[in-house]
């Protein structure tokens, strides 16, 4: 006979934008169980998680039976798949390059101040968080401002807070997104540990590796819970129909330079902190590179130098498309030749932009909106939206789509002008295996037409196959340069 379920969900109904997401949904979660919710994208997994912690409006009944003898606090906690923070003045009107512009007045709290604040609010001991910081390789970020964290580091901060709180019910949406390999491995054993100590876990993920404590698997089908035996039984998104690339992408991009990128002894420091150290790197036209390194190793900073986003590029020996930085070119001259996508750009993207506007803005390298779109450009937008199966969503606001579709729209924005250099910084973050495979096959196909590629990805098994060179960073230094 079972104890009381820790969560009892009965006859839950949830609507989003006029559509039923959950209908007459029932679920019991018992102590000792640890669940993974997986399966297709857009089935309502995130909505369900939010409903459990009371962040979504629903009808039906959700009852909690927390155990008073359990040492973990009798409460639930949800870690969302997107991070959120505000500046010291309470708003979050940031732009994605802000972390590179230095202004003496602090814009946001430091990690340490944020943790102290979180600890006070939840009555926690700071000494308890120290081991978690080490386990996730986050101990050196204490004095970093929130605005300066990369997306992977933000994820770690969210996890640190959740694990420190140690609630009886912990729901984590995409726990592994953006984490490097070492952190992922450590996180697996941390999950086993907290489960052992009495926390019930619900992980929303399709990640290939799961903690051993996971003993229940389910997906959402037609608004109801469908329990399966194991993760391999999750239903997968239909394999996408292979379509030919639009004509305008089947031709070689216009480019005048043999060398796309050249860095000679480039260093970036903030005060005493060295972020990049003596980087030498040459990317020739048509080469396909993989850039790798743990979270915080300097990858995003390096890429920001190549896209005209970093002020320190002006005093360094950097040549882009054959022109030395700081010789009278504007950042718009550079951006015109670069198609970039990154988690940070995604996070700070204009929330008023529709899918169509998002793609159109790629012609002008602007974030959201755009000026006048010509007839020929409109045609291209339609063709590309069709290629990515986004036509039915073209008038929807970008941020209301499932994450996977948002990423595809941003990829479309990136390639709409057929740029000679593609910089794809963790483009598949938040996508499941099927979506990632699809995404990478598009990248492969694109690159057969002569584009130069710089790609960042943490999963070695999930990379485009066209990669031929590899640059590995650690603590801001190049530790290896490999030709595959």
């Amino acid at each position: 006979m079972h104890n009381n379920p820790i969560v009892h969900i009965a006859h839950l109904n949830l609507h989003y934008a006029g559509q039923a997401v959950l209908s007459d949904f029932n679920w019991h979660i018992y102590p000792g169980e640890n669940w993974v919710i997986g399966g297709k994208s857009g089935t309502g997994k995130t909505s369900l998680a939010k409903a459990i912690v009371g962040e979504e409006k629903t009808t039906g009944k959700i009852t909690f039976h927390f155990n008073e003898h359990n040492p973990c606090p009798p409460r639930s906690y949800y870690v969302s798949n997107w991070y959120q923070f505000t500046n010291l003045e309470g708003d979050r009107n940031f732009y994605y390059q802000q972390r590179y512009n230095k202004f003496q007045k602090n814009d946001t709290l430091t990690v340490y101040a944020e943790l102290i604040h979180f600890g006070q609010k939840n009555d926690l001991q700071y000494s308890d968080v120290e081991p978690i910081l080490y386990a996730l390789g986050f101990e050196n970020c204490r004095d970093t401002q929130l605005i300066e964290l990369s997306s992977g580091e933000h994820k770690k901060l969210q996890l640190v807070q959740a694990l420190w709180l140690n609630p009886q019910l912990l729901i984590i949406d995409e726990p592994f997104t953006g984490l490097d390999k070492r952190s992922r491995t450590n996180l697996l054993s941390i999950f086993d540990e907290v489960a052992h100590r009495g926390t019930t876990l619900i992980l929303i993920t399709n990640a290939p590796q799961l903690p051993t404590c996971i003993n229940r698997f389910a997906e959402i089908e037609n608004g109801q819970l469908n329990v399966v035996e194991q993760a391999t039984d999750f239903s997968k998104d239909a394999v996408r129909e292979k379509k030919p690339l639009p004509y305008f992408l089947q031709k070689e991009p216009e480019s005048t330079s043999q060398t796309m990128v050249e860095l000679k002894n480039v260093s970036v420091r903030y005060g005493d902190k060295v972020v990049l150290k003596n980087i030498n790197w040459r990317v020739k036209a048509g080469e396909k590179w993989l850039l790798q390194g743990p979270n915080g190793s300097g990858k995003s900073t390096l890429l920001s130098l190549l896209n005209g986003d970093h002020p320190q590029a002006y005093s360094s020996n950097i040549w882009l498309f054959g022109t030395k930085r700081g010789s009278g070119e504007s950042i718009w001259d550079i951006k015109e030749k670069v198609g970039i996508i990154s988690p940070e750009m995604h996070w700070y993207f204009d929330r008023n932009a529709t899918v169509w506007h998002t793609v159109a803005s790629g012609f002008y390298d602007s974030i959201g909106w755009f000026i006048d779109v010509k007839h020929e450009e409109k045609k291209r937008i339609e063709q590309l939206l069709d290629f990515f199966d986004l036509l039915p969503h073209k008038d929807q606001l970008l941020h209301t789509l499932p994450l996977g579709k948002q990423r595809l729209a941003l990829l479309a924005r990136t390639i709409i002008k057929n740029p000679p250099l593609l910089i794809l910084d963790e483009p598949c973050q938040g996508l499941d295996v099927a979506q990632t495979t699809h995404f990478n096959s598009v990248v492969d196909e694109l690159c057969t037409h002569g584009n130069t590629l710089i790609y960042v990805g943490h999963y070695e098994s999930q990379l485009p196959s066209c990669i031929e060179h590899q640059l590995i960073l650690e603590n801001g230094e190049v530790v290896e340069e490999i030709t595959i």
Partner: protein, 493 residues
Amino acid sequence: MANYFNTLPLREQLNQLKHAEFMDSNEFSDGVNALKGKKIVIVGCGAQGLNQGLNLRDSGLDISYALRKEAIEQKRDSWKNATDNNFNVGTYEELIPSADLVINLTPDKQHTSVINAVQPLMKQGAALSYSHGFNIVEEGMQIRKDITVIMVAPKCPGSEVRAEYLRGFGVPTLIAVHPENDPEGKGWPYAKAYCVGTGGHRAGVLKSSFVAEVKSDLMGEQTILCGLLQTGSILSFDKMVEKGIDPGYASKLVQYGVEVITEALKHGGVSGMMDRLSNPAKIKAFEISEELKDIMRSLFQKHQDDIMSGEFSKTMMEDWANGDANLLKWRAETGETAFEKTPAGDVKINEQEYFDNYLLMVAFVRAGVELAFETMVEAGIKAESAYYESLHETPLIANTIARKKLFEMNRVISDTAEYGCYLFDQACKPLLADFMKKVDTDIVGKNFNEGKDGSVDNIQLVQVNEILRNHPVEIVGVKLRQAMTAMKAIKTV
């Protein structure tokens, strides 16, 4: 130094005041070329100085920062701002003599001493830029006749100037050339190129004059932008507490309400803001604001008159000479008001509630925007300038109140604006005393629609809508907002 405006004959005064022409985007087709390869030296590296410099450099221009020797030696914030972003930094003596364009982005109050230090070092035929014309117009600073004097004034805080540029847009900007200082005719090409370099050309540019900029800027900031928002906020808070509304709720409603309300103003003008109210509430707000306009019109006119005659700047400069005695005293008093001292309560107020429960502020904003606009236009300022200095800037100032109340607003705005704001506030409160006696919680603190059935008289509603939509500030607003295509919602609370 004599007040420059007062030295002009009337016809020239009128001529310069009415200078306001909305520029077509093809006037900027030459991009930054007029300044390409020129040595540009920015004096001052605060929020405007740093962020404009970052934009100009990112547009391919050659930027350095000239700072006072002490700022460099003591590694002050301005020095850190410039060096942390890898700019070349030097003293006035090191950088000014080779500069083709010197951009003065120091606070108003320092202009005279900065110009006195910089001018003798400037080479023959160089150019000097301001972002506010107070020093030229009110203090009557005379610049050497070989030097070209221009103004480029982005109508937003420095952080926004940078953020919008990197998003691929810009902020609305006002540009001008000083008619007494354009010996080579390069004033306009320089001003336009500078404006392109900051991204301003994408968001709407107004060709103005030093005189028009100063006289309209002072008027806007003293009355609707800061003065009226301060008076309205304090009176609303005190009234709610007097009538038994929970002080935490009242504090939150006032602190954030003005931002939410003026966000609607930003997108749809006065009528857009009024349309957020139910029909009966709109009619009520209309009636109250009509009464407020009647009561306050004379005060708005007095402020405009004092600005035109130079009386305002004379009084304020006397206070500068007196160690800011009045300014500091009034600043301290503002910090002591009950509103300032009551923290916002931990209550959830949804967006629509800010309109429904704070109808009085909607009325204040309509009255203030229209009065400021009407008074400026009557005084000879063109509608375009008057729009920027009244309606356009109100949401930006409201944003500072939402951050940390009035103290924050007064900290962020210039000392000149702050001084004028206190003058207005002190005169306006007694003027509104009788009016406030009639005010009850139905228009401030509680939902006006409660217990009403929502019906209104057709004809009356049509008339009210017509008056709102046909006001000249709405007519010019529709045109100017169209140019700011990239306008985005700041955020909601």
